[in-house]
């Protein structure tokens, strides 16, 4: 399932106002690793269809102000949020297991 793309308004709404437990993958079209990791997350997201944990995506080229909001040093980067707080981060070439472990650890 394709991940919902966030813009500055929907980010504000879901992450800060609603305080959703979720992850956000920051990616860009020209990045090779992103093209491996985004589909991996798309598949993982199907394990969480009950709404307890959500998966989102930010295209850093389309959403420059949103990208600047958290100081990231590269793509792909995955940020984990809950109760309106940034709880954790994974960066670089990550595997399915890394994401599952992080979710286990944080929520």
């Amino acid at each position: 399932m394709e991940l919902l793309k966030l813009d500055i308004d929907s980010f504000e709404e879901r992450i800060f106002k609603n305080g959703e437990n979720c992850l956000v993958i920051y990616s860009r079209k020209t990045c090779k690793e992103c093209k491996i990791i985004v589909p991996m997350l798309e598949e993982l997201s199907e394990l969480y269809t009950d709404g307890s944990f959500n998966f989102y995506r930010v295209d850093v080229e389309e959403q420059v102000p949103l990208y600047k909001r958290f100081p990231l040093k590269g793509v792909p980067s995955v940020l984990f949020f809950g109760q309106g707080q940034k709880l954790g981060k994974l960066a670089g070439m990550i595997e399915e297991e890394d994401v599952l472990e992080k979710i286990e650890e944080l929520y």
Binding site: R28, T30, C31, K32, E33, C34, K35, I36, P39, P71, L72, K73, G74, V75, P76, S77, K89, L90, A91, G92, M93
Partner: protein, 406 residues
């Protein structure tokens, strides 16, 4: 298992060219790609020397998208699959993918490509994505106003350093060689030396990357003095060469010490029906243009191989005894021997059949029956080898044939 005529692992320049040729030869062709369609060339902003594409605005992504369209236009399919295991033992080669799907074909072209080499220094793995990067296109703009280090001195290192300098305040280039020596092409090297934001540090390697959450500083070691220097940087980009992504065929194919697959000029590997192309094979020049050449060669070789396999399978359907006659237009002896055996076989046409194999064009059966030279014959009965002989003496040949056929 989904069956194809030709499977290609990897959708870079080599794999997609093979896809163009395979599709055009009307082979049912499938390309499997785990990441980006376009391979290494996809992350090249400027392609300077792919013949015919010289305009300023020809980028890697542009050319690679064209190649993908080209392959697909001829009927080749490109799908997203992560190949994890290959079974090369049988006549049908089986490709196993991460999600459990399997694909099979009698001919297989491996276009695995390469990945960046890791130096394995402290901090490199831990800070990957948090300041350590292998892709300037992806990450350079995160270093607006920062000091950034680039490790390496080849084409990619210097060209990418100049790109990073569009954002960074200063770029430190760490070069292992003596002052003034770089492995980069002259045009880019001259530009880099004159660039006001680039600072070259000679005779030096990177020893460590420091930082808790993100890169904060680097430790450089001077090879002449042995002295370590620490500098504050916001990021480190690595361009220290590439390694072939051939782990899944280790011990299954002949490789060199660095893990590059060894092929002959037809791109054949040590296993018949399996070809290796592009950056993952041992070769002199790794460029889009040579990758494309490899792909074309392998696809044509695979097409011929598949024809042979088909002929062979038809032959095995025969009830008659079979005589395989290996000849070559360059061997007069083989031409005469073949002509003689043809006359003899004609007398027994209800019981036996002759298959002529031109060794200069076809090697599959020669490989299978370990035939090294022309004017050799293999006698088969019910698919079993009864005898193998060389026709150095025409009389012996005739006598042996008659005894066998009688």
């Amino acid at each position: 298992m989904e069956k194809y005529d030709l499977l290609i692992c990897g959708a870079g320049a080599a794999g997609m060219t093979a896809g163009v040729y395979g599709g055009r030869a009307r082979l049912k062709t499938l390309i499997l790609e785990k990441g980006v369609v376009g391979g290494t060339a996809y992350s090249t902003r400027e392609l300077a020397n792919y013949p015919g594409f010289y305009a300023e605005d020809v980028s890697g992504p542009f050319l690679m998208k064209q190649m993908a369209k080209h392959a697909e236009r001829f009927g080749t399919k490109i799908i997203k699959e992560n190949v994890i295991e290959l079974d090369l033992e049988g006549d049908t080669k089986v490709v196993k993918c991460k999600k459990g799907r399997e694909y099979g074909a009698k001919a297989l072209i491996l276009a695995f490509g390469t990945e960046p080499r890791l130096l394995g220094i402290p901090g490199e793995k831990e800070l990957r994505g948090s300041g350590v990067s292998y892709c300037a296109t992806c990450d350079a703009e995160n270093f607006e106003g920062d000091i950034v280090a680039v490790v390496g001195n080849g084409d990619a290192a210097l060209e990418e350093a100049m790109f990073i300098a569009k954002f960074a305040e200063k770029v430190i280039i760490i070069v292992i060689h003596d002052e003034g020596i770089v492995d980069c092409n002259k045009v880019s090297a001259e530009k880099a030396f004159k660039h006001p934001k680039l600072e070259f540090v000679w005779n030096t390697t990177l020893a460590e990357i420091k930082g808790d959450e993100e890169v904060e500083s680097i430790v450089m070691r001077n090879l002449k003095t042995g002295e370590n220097t620490e500098r504050k940087v916001g990021g480190v980009f690595f361009y220290v060469g590439l390694v072939p992504q051939t782990a899944c065929v280790k011990d299954k194919l002949e490789m060199n010490r660095q893990g590059y697959i060894i092929t002959n000029e037809k791109m054949e590997t040590s296993v018949p029906g399996v070809y290796a192309v592009g950056d993952c094979r041992e070769k002199y020049l790794r460029q889009v243009v040579t990758a494309a050449g490899d792909g074309a060669t392998a696809a044509v070789a695979a097409e011929k191989y598949l024809e042979e396999v088909e002929e062979y399978e038809d032959m095995l359907q025969e009830d008659k005894k079979i005589l395989l006659g290996f000849w070559s237009p360059l061997s007069q002896l083989s031409i005469e021997a073949l002509s003689r055996s043809e006359q003899i076989i004609a007398e027994y046409e209800d019981a036996a059949k002759l298959y002529k194999i031109d060794l200069s064009r076809k090697q599959m059966l020669a490989y299978k029956y370990e035939i090294k030279e022309p004017a050799s014959f293999v006698l088969l009965s019910k698919n079993a080898v009864i005898d193998t002989l060389h026709a150095s003496n025409p009389d012996t040949l005739e006598a042996t044939l008659r005894t066998w056929l009688a």
